[in-house]
Amino acid sequence: MSTETLDLSSTPAIPFTRLVQVELRKMYDTRAGRWLLISIAGLTGLVLVIQLIVLLVKDQSATLGSFGAGANIPMVILLPVLGVMSVTGEWSQRTAMVTFALVPSRGRVIAAKYVSALAIALIAVVVAYVLMIVANLLYGAFSSHPMVWDFGGAFGIFLVFLLYVISLSIGFAFGAAILNTAGAIVVYFVYDFVLPGLMELGAHLLSWFHSIRPWIDFSNAQTPLQGGSSVTGQQWAHLLVSGSIWLGIPLAIGIRRMLRAEVK
């Protein structure tokens, strides 16, 4: 046993699935992480309860889709926060030092984090649908109006998934680009609340902007995903183009930063 070289021949590389499992576990193995997940589900439930009460009191007609629209509100606000924290938790708590020492190819860690974020988006869709269905059943039980199950089919569910994935990805991108939880969340909210207003204003004041707006207004471009059941080719194109600007660019900057940053 006196060789100055390391024999690596019997050491297999770490499979990607294992990295995804570990990254997924990191999302709920701290109290903060668990509470964020619970509050996303809890707030979605709360919004639906309020919506249900308002609908019943005002005796308005509603469908499963109306509850879907209600459920999407807390989801698209909170999923980005989850996206942010899935990245920044590692940096602000400095665990990146341990993570990247165990897995030096950072690209794989980032990919595993992203895939585990997608898994969370999928779970969020299931949770949202379960809550929507319960809300609609309660509505049917207490309302004079008939229940309407406008599911939108598999494609409708896919659109909701896509919406949630985009929300998580935006958070992920900002988290990666800024690498600081509070900073990334603030920048995200500015982006989310101020940008649509600016778009509106721009379209009002400048006529040329009005015509290109669909191509650069990412939040408008996501509207067809909200409870829609069909998306036109042009709508896809708008989503793709505006998405590459407002999601693609921050994501590229973020990934580049994570790949290069010195881990301290």
Binding site: M1, S2, T3, E4, T5, L6, L8, T11, P12, A13, I14, R18, L19, Q21, V22, R25, K26, D29, T30, R31, A32, G33, G89, Q93, R94, T95, M97, V98, T99, F100, A101, L102, V103, P104, S105, E262, V263
Partner: protein, 315 residues
């Protein structure tokens, strides 16, 4: 086993690590010594690919760290024990590493036991860990994959005396079984008892290198020195002078410019009873260390004339 070749790391115009080269041999413990800000941590971070080198390279067992598949199984790393998620329990921290490496979960229990973290402590979040407990957790994390190489940045930091002794025995045992250990410290006493070889760094440059004996020798200007105490120091002093060996009083002892064996012979010939006979100057290493790193000490140079660079010391 660990080869550092011409490693330089610059931050802007500041050179944190300046063209250093050294190696750690298999089956030995290498102490990496230097004052605050000397560049120890930076060097170790470069070793494991967390910081890119500006020039030069490090190989571990002939490989670049990044090329080692599942590196935790070969190289155990402890860089900063406080770099742990405050909201995770100690057990969970180890579990994540263990799962990443593909080890059975039972390994976590073994390691907790090995570093003497009790089950109740392992259930606490790291936020509520004492400094020494964090350090133990970090050491457990480094040992988890049963690696052949250990890279530890100030592992004894925060350990109690029993912990330091345990650490020392652990590292010695590790090297005795064929492992390779590199550990850093700014405390000479901590390292000299465990390290087979020492690398002293100051302001990003290697200022001295060698075994304890080599460094000790260089501390006295390349000459052998002996500390000796006799029942009658005067008599011994006279006997040495007769033989042409220089001696000066040093407290209750004599400091002699000769090997201990020669001093012993002189005493035996003169039937002089010795109560203590030691190689070198015990404070010498400390002095050497301060002196070598003098221009990088924050407290300024100690009051000592510069000595010529003896063997084992790189200018």
């Amino acid at each position: 086993m660990i080869h550092v070749e011409g490693l330089t790391r610059k931050y802007g115009s500041f050179t944190a690590v300046d063209d250093i080269s050294f190696e750690c041999r298999q089956g030995t413990v290498t102490g990496f010594l230097g004052p605050n800000g000397a560049g120890k941590t930076t060097t170790m971070r470069v070793m494991v690919g967390l910081t890119p080198a500006t020039h030069g390279q490090v190989t571990i067992g002939g490989h670049h760290y990044r090329e080692i598949p599942n590196p935790g199984r070969h190289v155990g790393v402890l860089l900063d024990a406080s770099a742990q998620h405050a909201g995770r329990t100690g057990r969970e921290v180890l579990l994540l590493s263990s799962r990443t490496m593909g080890l059975p979960d039972s390994r976590v229990e073994e390691m907790l036991e090995r570093v003497s973290l009790e089950p109740a402590e392992a259930k606490r979040t790291v936020r509520n860990y004492s400094l020494g407990m964090r350090q133990r957790l970090g050491i457990a994390n480094a040992l988890l994959g049963d690696p052949q190489v250990l890279i530890l940045d100030e592992p004894a930091n925060g350990l109690d005396p029993a912990g330091i002794r345990w650490m020392r025995d652990l590292l010695k045992g590790y090297a005795a079984q064929g492992g390779t250990v590199l550990l850093s410290s700014h405390l000479l006493h901590e390292v000299e008892q465990v390290a087979d070889e020492m690398v002293v760094i100051g302001r990003g440059r290697i200022v001295a290198r060698g075994t304890r004996a080599q460094l000790l020798r260089s501390a006295s200007g390349g000459l052998a020195t002996t500390l000796v105490t006799a029942v009658d120091n005067e008599q011994l002093h006279r006997a040495l002078t007769v033989k042409g060996i220089e001696a000066t009083a040093a407290g209750a002892s004599l400091r002699v410019s000769a090997e201990p064996i020669d001093v012993g012979r002189v005493a035996a010939e003169g039937s002089i009873v010795l109560t203590d006979l030691r190689a070198g100057n015990e404070d010498g290493l400390e002095e050497l260390f301060l002196q070598l790193t003098a221009d990088s000490q924050r407290e300024g140079a100690p009051q000592q004339p510069a000595q010529p660079m003896p063997e084992g010391v790189n200018p």
